[in-house]
Symmetry: C2
Amino acid sequence: MGQGPRTVREAGEFGLIAELAVALPEAARAGPELGIGIGDDAAVWTPSPGEAVVVTTDSLVEGIHFRLDWTDWLSLGHKALAVNLSDLAAMGAVPRIATVSLGLRGDEPVEDLRNLYRGLGALAARTGTRIAGGDIVRSPHGRALHVTALGETRGGRVLRRDGARSGDVVAVSGTLGASAAGMALLAGEGDRRAATADVLVAAHLRPEPRLALGRSLVEVGASAAMDLSDGLYGDLPKILAASRVSARIDLGRLPVAAAVRALFPERWLDLATRGGEDYELLFTVPSTRWDEVDKATRDVGSTVTAIGEVVPATAAGPRMVVFGLGGGEREIAPGAFDHFEGDG
Amino acid sequence: MGQGPRTVREAGEFGLIAELAVALPEAARAGPELGIGIGDDAAVWTPSPGEAVVVTTDSLVEGIHFRLDWTDWLSLGHKALAVNLSDLAAMGAVPRIATVSLGLRGDEPVEDLRNLYRGLGALAARTGTRIAGGDIVRSPHGRALHVTALGETRGGRVLRRDGARSGDVVAVSGTLGASAAGMALLAGEGDRRAATADVLVAAHLRPEPRLALGRSLVEVGASAAMDLSDGLYGDLPKILAASRVSARIDLGRLPVAAAVRALFPERWLDLATRGGEDYELLFTVPSTRWDEVDKATRDVGSTVTAIGEVVPATAAGPRMVVFGLGGGEREIAPGAFDHFEGDG
């Protein structure tokens, strides 16, 4: 060992696996309901009888999805799991286990990786997710985290994207734009010293998967749902295309935090509609059930806001029309945010 | 579009997802037993009643696990799935679905990615695996493939690493060293023009997961199993440590293809014991059941070779002792192959 902190290369792949397992809180480790945990060829898990398994996978690549000068390792661990649990929330599923694959350069201090697992483990323990093994590979040209989360249905039903019907209410949970505002602050835009700046940065670094809300939405009969990772203008068209319907959105009703409006007076609408990474739920529900949705979501400590309505698609196909905030009706061009556009 | 072939960046993330889904053979696509396939937030799958779910994940990183000047994209797709299915084989599980996460630079021709999915899809269709969605992310500093495979048990039992008992036979399927010999040939060592060279290169680029053998081993009551990814000397100590036993291996009985011996007369033993990536099964079985194992494995078209026996661990812990090939008994130092050692 050298003078500096012990690195991944010094610990070795198998030493690191053992240390990371210990960094997890007890409640996040492979427990007795898992036949085999970290260290065997695979993890084994018996789903509840009659329920379906829900599987999702999401990757975070250094320089694209995270920067180590912007995030701490605890937050990075949290986010790597959170973005996957958010997909389970959008399906109305209950998380059960997750596997983690790390691509590392080898020069990382082991303590950083322990913090990654602590952040991941804290969210896992709080959401009933067991970390069931994974893989650590050498990736000299850039770090990457790949998480696969497995959940199960309750009552056999899931929230899909293709069930929105004309007349349904379009709604979102929480607020929009906080994550994008937080990222802008990290990039040196806006007033980082403002009292509310930390809340926005936290929204970007440590999004909270809306698991309880997703389960409520299954129970009250939401017709379609997804999580907002690519922004309202990027994601709503996916529901509209899958359901073959159009939508009218009242921009005056978008829930946007006062801090976002205050720190980005020129850009707040853009952050709220195109910013992405809010990891709130976007959903549709028959208007007759709206009161029930509103009550059920308050019961699980969430807030939801109706922002528009589903209308029939035109002959030209699904359209997203917005109005309000002093402007007339205008169509937002389809075409979701493309991760290969821009600086690629 | 430019003059050259259409690239991933030109197709866009969502265009690419649609094209790759079509590149899969029908039998590998998310079918009616999957509630939702590629394109929703997650995939849904109902396991057979009473069976456990088996989950494994493995990553291939460019420059570490594959080189595009050595492999074609069809073979790369095959291998990315094969190394995961090999883990399921080592558990005695039946594959059901897999998710694929691709980290791409963006300048790849779409046709290359289609070939990746064709290679992956051909193996998936042949093994009953459905490709159930995934994720495509931008990874400018190096490509990576991350596959998570899900299988299920038959009869609720799996092959573990911790069940080897003193007196058991130690055995391997197929032959050892062919993959490492193939990699050496790709690296310019040995005689690439030899008639048998292509077989060795194919063993490296397109390993075959031993799924039928794994299921047979569950049925005949093998006591422990794993797949050989890090070579006999890297992997056997993992079974010994998990089972708290030692082993004596007769090097004279190792199944090594004549081509490996002929092309690498000085190195064949090293390739067979330390080479890695054979993706054969290494297992232990009570000696009373050996004849049954031998017959059952021939019934599924595999070959198995007894290479040694499990003996009690000494006070110092599990040891791996080898003999034969004219040498006396000697201990092989523990310490598996470490992916962060070497050129890191």
